[in-house]
């Protein structure tokens, strides 16, 4: 992508929307499974672990793609604090996309649990068993999950704010399909 490009590449947009669905599903499965003792607890737990590893792999791929293709510049007219907030929130989103699955995996390892995914795939332990470490990782996993959801809501609100109010092309840069305004001069 060159500096003048106004949109993310097709690969980046595909990864963004695929992961958006995956991460939202992940957060809902997580908060749902820890609130039930019904038989669905077990398939939810298995889905949570499996999806977590898929998200980790996609996030690493996405980070690599970002280094290769970069991102469209934010509009020059955007106020500096808003640009800073945009940059910081994206660092946070990347850190959580990669950090949360690792925290979960490490938490299970420290808790001496086998890590078994869908289809009976067994992952090695990341850490030796340690009760204190398990507690720390569990608390981090729980609180960061709520922080992650809050950050996603902020990201969603900001995206809609760009799309509906600022109308500055930032939303269109990641929109799954080209909007009516793409590549045309403004109407009226």
């Amino acid at each position: 992508m060159n500096a003048q490009s106004t949109r993310f590449t097709v690969l980046q947009r595909a990864l963004h929307w695929l992961m958006a669905v995956g991460i939202l599903a992940m957060l809902f499965i997580g908060v749902g499974m820890v609130s039930t003792v019904m038989p669905k607890y077990l398939p939810l737990l298995e889905a949570h672990k499996t999806l977590g590893i898929v998200i980790l792999l996609l996030a690493l791929l996405r980070l690599a793609v970002r280094f290769v293709y970069g991102a469209p510049a934010l509009p020059a007219a955007m106020p500096a604090p808003m640009k800073l907030a945009a940059h910081l929130s994206h660092y946070g989103l990347y850190a959580l996309m990669i950090g949360m699955p690792l925290l979960g995996w490490a938490m299970l390892s420290a808790g001496a649990y086998p890590v078994v995914l869908y289809g009976g795939i067994r992952l090695p332990s990341l850490l030796p068993p340690n009760a204190g470490l398990h507690a720390l990782l569990w608390q981090a996993h729980v609180w960061l999950a709520f922080a992650f959801f809050a950050l996603i809501l902020l990201h969603l609100a900001a995206g809609l704010f760009h799309a509906l109010i600022r109308r500055d092309g930032v939303f269109e840069s990641m929109a799954p399909i080209a909007g009516p305004r793409e590549g045309t001069t403004p109407a009226e």
């Binding site: 820890v34 649990y113 109010i165």
Partner: protein, 358 residues
């Protein structure tokens, strides 16, 4: 970047309302999924909280079956279990074991004779896969469903004098358990107790056929059944002292008996024992050859979650293993977070003095 004219202020206000609505809807859906809007939902925190005695839980300890002692040993598989499950643990061989004898009480200091239910937590490792189980000595479970178990806990802690009467009226299966609890003798040793899975699991054999199975570890030691009064005379911590001394003298053994359901047997209700005469397979011998105090023993930080199963064993339509897994995870998360409250440095219990190996 593509620019569009700014919206009119009226349209902008409409857009802001729309954005706020989308965010609020998403947050509401999340809160609903997490049960924050459903106080009546039976959640793991609620179920585990209901186990606590009136004075609150014993911090740092398991929320139930809190009094226990660790052991190590092996499972000597004779190969017969392979007829029912392809799990490596049923191939002939010796597999390492970590386990825990325990009492079904939330109080880690409860006198032995005050506790009716005894348990066995077990982890067998075979072929890189673990099989964890937590079994108890009654021949059937007190109630048929996890909801009924919660109702039992609520009733037993209720200040309403009619609460238990009301519970029993609504859960006739409990009378069977109460009959056992009132009449079964107390064995003089953990080594004389049979420990039962009660829950049914699905075993898959090498040909792909599945079998609903319940299992028992049956003691090879000679039983010494005692009346509650005679058992109480042995002392408040007799069981741990006794098993430590007994194992120090000689390894103790239990036979693993797998019992296969006939078509129509209730697999989803552990309060109903299966009729006699079912096909059974003796799959091997549990050998306990070292007992260690829990404080720094190998079982302390293990969650004996009965859904941690090797390939070849899976949960059935019995709703308990899932509920137990959810509740055990909650208990484990709480007690590891309370590790500062756990008596790592406390003086050794009376039992610990005799855990020294010969």
């Amino acid at each position: 970047m593509a620019q569009s004219p700014p919206p009119t202020s009226r349209a902008a206000i409409g857009s802001l309302v729309l954005i706020a609505g989308v965010v609020a809807a998403a947050a509401g859906a999340f809160a609903y999924t997490g049960g924050f809007l459903s106080p009546e939902r039976l959640t793991p925190p609620k179920l585990v909280g209901a186990l606590a005695p009136p004075g609150g839980p014993a911090l740092g300890h398991r929320r139930n079956h809190a009094k226990g002692i660790c052991f190590t040993g092996s499972f000597q598989s004779n190969g017969q279990g392979a007829a029912l499950s392809k799990a490596q643990v049923f191939a002939k061989g010796d597999y390492p074991v970590v386990g825990r004898f325990n009492l079904g009480t939330p109080d880690p200091n409860a006198p032995d004779a005050t506790v009716r239910v005894r348990g066995l937590g077990l982890q067998i490792t075979a072929g890189g896969q673990v099989w964890r189980a937590a079994m108890i000595d009654p021949p059937f479970f007190p109630v048929a469903t996890p909801d009924a178990f919660y109702a039992l806990l609520e009733a037993s802690h209720s200040k309403d004098p009619d609460a238990m009467k009301g519970f029993i009226a609504g859960h006739p299966e409990f009378a069977t358990f109460a009959g056992w609890a009132g009449s079964a003798p107390f064995m003089a040793s953990y080594a004389q107790d049979a420990f039962n899975s009660l829950n049914a699991f699905l075993f898959t054999d090498a040909a792909g056929a599945t079998h609903a199975v319940r299992w028992s570890y049956r003691p090879q030691a000679q039983p010494e059944p005692l009346s509650p009064a005679d058992f109480a005379k042995l002392g408040p911590n007799h069981l741990e002292t006794e098993i430590a001394e007994r194992v120090a003298g000689a390894p103790q053994r239990w036979t693993l008996v797998l019992t296969v359901a006939d078509p129509g047997d209730p697999t989803a209700d552990p309060s109903k024992a299966w009729p006699e005469g079912r096909r059974s397979v003796e799959a091997g011998t549990l050998v306990v050859d070292k007992v260690e105090d829990e404080r720094d023993g190998p079982c302390r930080d293990i969650n004996f979650d009965p859904t941690l199963l090797p390939d070849g064993i899976a949960v059935s339509d019995d709703p308990f293993p899932a509920a137990r897994s959810a509740a055990y995870a909650r208990s484990y998360n709480l007690r590891t977070a309370e590790w500062k409250d756990y008596p790592y440095q406390a003086p050794a219990s009376p039992a610990a003095g005799s855990t020294v190996q010969p």
